[in-house]
Amino acid sequence: MAVSRREFLQGGAAAAALILSGKKAEAGGADSSQMRTKGLKSSTTICPFCAVGCGLVVHTKNGKIVNIEGDTQHPINQGALCSKGSALFQVANNERRLQKVMYRAPGSDKFEEKSWDWALERIAQKMKDTRDKSFKAKEINKKDNKEYVVNRTEGMAFLGGAGLDNEECYLWSKFARSMGVANLEHQARI
């Protein structure tokens, strides 16, 4: 990649400082962006809130996210962010994030922690029971009194997807239809 605007501007600012002060340029101060992100790994991302599609840079240290800021090279936001985008750091680092698989038994007044394997097996069993019991292979149409093959699972609905990645949406669509789920909807309908 060519010199980024950030690097270019930093170089320019340093040179200007040198001319003005007549002193040898020193490394940025404690709150300079260079100090803040020095020695960190960075990767780009796109904001998960609205659909403007602003770019952000995520900085990590030892696998932990330590800083997120606007991507100055991104042509849409050019480094700028709104209050939500600026708060993405607190999505990544937040004690309220769900960390464990939780299960609530019928009638219970609390969640209990479970393993992924236990929960996924039980969910699979529930999905299969529901599909097997509510599967409608054929139905008589009320208007013309004819029988049609519909191959539909009536007893189950899938909601959501506007927060998923495209690849996830695709697999969700593929999986839902293979399960005979016609009750497939998401946020675009509300």
């Binding site: 990649m1 796109i46 998960p48 659909a51 403007v52 599609g53 995520v58 990590t60 936001n77 209050s83 708060a87 607190q90 999505v91 990544a92 309220r96 994030r97 769900l98 960390q99 464990k100 698989v101 939780m102 299960y103 019928p106 009638g107 007044d109 929960a119 039980r122 969910i123 699979a124 529930k126 529901t130 019991k133 149409n141 049609y148 093959v149 539909r152 699972t153 899938f158 909601l159 959501g160 997807g161 927060g163 998923l164 990645d165 495209n166 690849e167 949406c169 695709y170 969700w172 669509s173 593929k174 999986f175 839902a176 399960m179 009750n183 497939l184 909807e185 946020q187 309908r189 509300i190």
Partner: protein, 802 residues
């Protein structure tokens, strides 16, 4: 969006109606302000004086739910004052088409209405056809049965006085808006219309959108830089989730999900493949068989063969409406045993939410996949209920955040942009990709052992690598598509050789015989032999219009402005030489600029020219629609709950909408217009923001906005607790008394409004009552999107928490 965010800077006028970009899409203001720096005018039309209105050159107040009156009046204004782009209208829209003799409109009702079923027979609105089967046309647009004359007649009723009486807009404000915006009806001017839920969340929402599109076509504003009809979508990948068909009526790529009487693949393709006899019409949906078969090959792999109809029988067939509100009704009747919510929170996000919360308790099992506890996942311990009484089994699965996984999302401008994984998910959280993969693998295993009609699951092609996490690049490659056998394709003067397994370079090479796979045809071209084009970061801008063609990848075929063949005249010469989207190079015989809407030469080329609106069988933009559920022209009706009589006809509300029981027109009990909206500091149903301390500090609790006059009348001070009630329920919140809200003048009477953010609920760090407790569960005739924006309510000082 037909256009994209940066393109807003190319507009001479920006009409923001039913949206509030400064509040809800703040960074878009960078480009709106760039347009304003060049002399562009910003117009804000909204019930409230919003953050966008505060930046606007013109602000017009509008009563919620009266957008068709407002836009219909602008259509009339443009027609009456000869402000339309005449060549564009004549050549590119169906203004010249003749409508059959049966078409009629009387007192708010179009012909062929069945009052019992509340449905129209849209066939009665068809074009008149000539002996060859093509629509009859009158290029002079003088025939009284041509669309142009019918349009003119229909909207002649929408006079400025009539409109302002309906919308409550001040006449001088309305005239300023109409004049400023309609002045873009010239070849060298561009106007863009921005809209969001203020337009869609209505019982005539689709017709609201149509009205914006019609105005844009009349002004020659579609296909050009700085133009278009631009939906400001509110969720980071709601464009993608729609593209991928996560809606009951769709399959990926806007293919229709099969209906019960599409009894086999042949019948399905017959029903959904439009036909034309006009050689100048590209009729792009004529390719439906190629896209459908390529999708079935992506889903059923080698099991999908010509002999077995490519496993078409495995797809579920719909018989009716399974939209969100209908599903909630079904759930309330105990007809659903299971529900899976992938990052959706219906206990807050849907209308009439007390009913939804109650309905969740009728489920046997509920799975929520989210980053947080949501009102939906803890509905069984919500305030006022005893968990013991709720028998639903709940699985709350922790999901990875956007920076803890890799994949693409599509913004409003159709740019699919790649995101990288920066860190491992927190705790035991997993990506949605992993979770879906686990569901599929476990169901496959279970059905291998038997069950009802197991084949759709056991035969499903599901091969995304051997790792613990499915390989996201394999998924992206399948979406793009590849050849299943060696192929030689002759494309005009080129002969192309492909090997089995090669990525398909673009969707024009997809086939209907099983020789190609493509999980979503509109994304074909996103991941080719050149790699993952969605990850591109090249800032070249060869047109200077801000299209950045090598930054990410836009569907379709990296086209940045769709319908761009309408930006040139029929000879291929740009209407506006200062903002050239595409131009025909007659020497090289090719288009330059943006990726054109098809490679054919300009429309006037006798042999190969094509009309610009390639997605319609007749190739012309529809000022008059043939397939809407509620009429060929948008007509003003009042919201179902309204303080006003319909002044334009005797038909009070959209006749094609069935009204549910818990709605009212009792203005004595509910005298105020309620409307819901969003704010910068919070997001949608709130789970993603109400647990972030920085945002909670900014907006810690639920509030409702009222005018100073209403506050005085009710003795409410800023910060007082108030109770807001509708026919569906009541909520408590802090009152925010503001001069930004003003009463509407409704037919000589002052009617007050109550503004409600809908982001709050009982889960998370910042809690508050949900605006959607009040909103009605009645939807648009075409889309079933609920009428969140306009309902009747009452407000009183006090409440239990005061």
């Amino acid at each position: 969006m037909t256009n994209h965010w940066i393109d807003l800077r190319n507009a001479d006028a920006i009409l923001a109606i039913g949206c509030n970009p400064a509040e809800n899409h703040p960074i878009s203001m960078k480009w709106i302000e760039a347009a304003m720096d060049q002399g562009g005018k910003l117009i804000a039309v909204d019930p409230r004086f919003t953050r966008t209105a505060s930046k606007a050159d013109h602000y017009a107040q509008i009563r919620p739910g009266t957008d068709i009156a407002f836009l219909g009046g602008m259509i009339n204004y443009a027609l009456q004052n000869n402000m339309v782009h005449e060549e564009y209208v004549r050549e590119y829209t169906n203004a010249t088409f003749i409508v059959n003799d049966k078409y009629d409109f009387n007192e708010g009702i179009f012909c062929a209405f069945d009052d019992q079923e509340k449905t129209y027979d849209a066939k009665a609105w068809a074009y008149a056809v000539d002996g060859a089967g093509n629509p009859k046309r009158d290029h002079s647009m003088k025939d009284p049965r041509c669309v142009y004359q019918l349009l003119k007649k229909h909207y002649s009723r929408y006079t400025v006085d009539m409109v302002c009486n309906i919308t409550g807009t001040k006449k001088e404000d309305y005239l300023a808006v109409a004049k400023t915006y309609c002045s873009t009806g010239r070849a060298d001017k561009a106007g863009t219309i921005l809209y969001a839920m203020g337009i869609t969340q209505s019982t005539h929402g689709s017709q609201n959108v149509r009205a914006t599109a019609m105005l844009q076509m009349l002004l020659g504003n579609i296909g050009i830089a700085g133009g278009g009809v631009n939906a400001l979508r509110g969720e980071s990948n709601v464009q993608g989730s729609t593209d991928y068909g996560l809606l009951f009526h769709l399959l990926p790529g806007y293919l229709k999900s099969p209906e019960f009487d599409n009894v086999d693949l042949k019948a399905y393709l017959e029903k959904w493949t439009p036909k034309t006899k006009d050689a100048k019409s590209a009729n792009w949906w004529g390719n439906t068989p190629k896209y459908t078969v390529s999708l079935l090959k992506a889903w059923y792999g080698d099991n999908a063969t010509k002999e077995n109809n490519f496993c078409y029988d495995y797809l579920p067939k719909r018989s009716g409406n399974y939209s969100f509100v209908k599903l909630m009704e079904k759930m309330g009747k105990g007809e659903l045993q299971g529900l899976v919510c992938m990052g959706q929170n219906p206990a807050v996000g849907g209308p009439d939410s007390l009913k939804t919360r109650e309905a969740l308790g009728k489920l046997d099992w509920l799975v929520t996949v989210d980053l947080w506890e949501t009102e939906t996942s803890i509905f069984w311990k919500r305030p006022g209920v005893n968990p013991k009484d709720i028998k639903t089994e709940v699985f709350m699965l922790p999901a990875a955040s956007s920076v803890e996984k890799e994949g693409s999302i599509s913004n409003s401008g159709r740019w699919a942009q790649w995101r990288y994984k920066a860190a491992e998910p927190v705790g035991d959280a997993k990506s949605d990709l992993w979770i879906i993969d686990q569901f599929a693998k476990r169901m496959k295993k279970a059905y291998e052992k038997g069950g009802v009609f197991p084949e759709p699951i056991t035969k499903l092609a599901w091969n995304y690598g051997q790792g613990e996490e499915p390989e996201v690049h394999m998924v992206a490659k399948e979406i793009n598509g590849y050849f299943t056998k060696d192929m030689t394709i002759v494309d005009k003067d080129k002969t192309l050789e492909f090997k089995a397994g090669d990525q398909v370079p673009m969707f024009k090479y997809l086939q209907d015989d099983g020789s190609t796979v493509s999980g979503n045809w509109i994304y074909c071209g996103s991941y080719t032999k050149d790699g993952n084009l969605m990850a591109r970061r090249d800032l070249a801008d060869p047109t200077g219009l801000g299209m950045y063609p090598k930054w990410s990848w836009a569907w379709p075929v990296n086209r940045r402005i769709i319908y761009n063949r309408a930006s040139v005249n029929p000879d291929g010469v740009p209407f506006n030489p200062k903002r050239v989207v595409i131009t025909w190079d007659a020497l090289e015989k090719k288009w330059k600029g943006d990726v054109p809407d098809g490679p054919w030469p300009p429309m006037n080329d006798a042999k190969e020219g094509k009309y610009p609106f390639i997605m319609l069988a007749e190739g012309h933009g529809r000022l008059y629609a043939l397939d809407m559920k509620d009429g060929p022209f948008p007509e003003h009706y009042e919201p179902i709950e309204s303080p006003a009589k319909n002044l334009l006809s005797k038909t009070q509300t959209n006749p094609a909408v069935k009204v549910p029981a818990n709605m009212t027109s009792d203005t004595a009990k509910f005298p105020y217009v309620g409307t819901t909206y969003r704010m910068t500091e919070h997001w949608q149903a709130g789970a993603m923001t109400r647990s972030l301390p920085w945002l909670v500090e900014l907006v810690p609790t639920m509030f409702v906005e009222i005018s100073q006059t209403l506050a005085r009348a009710k003795g409410i001070n800023n910060g007082d607790m108030v109770k807001v009630t509708s026919e569906r329920g009541s909520i408590e919140a802090k009152a925010l008394v503001t001069s930004r809200l003003k009463p509407f003048n409704v037919q000589g009477k002052e009617v007050e409004q109550v503004g409600l953010p809908w982001h709050f609920g009982y889960a998370g760090l910042a809690t508050g009552d949900s605006g959607n407790v009040l909103t009605p569960s009645v939807g648009c005739a075409n889309t079933s999107i609920p009428e969140f924006k306009a309902f009747l309510c009452n407000i009183e000082k006090g409440g239990k928490r005061a």
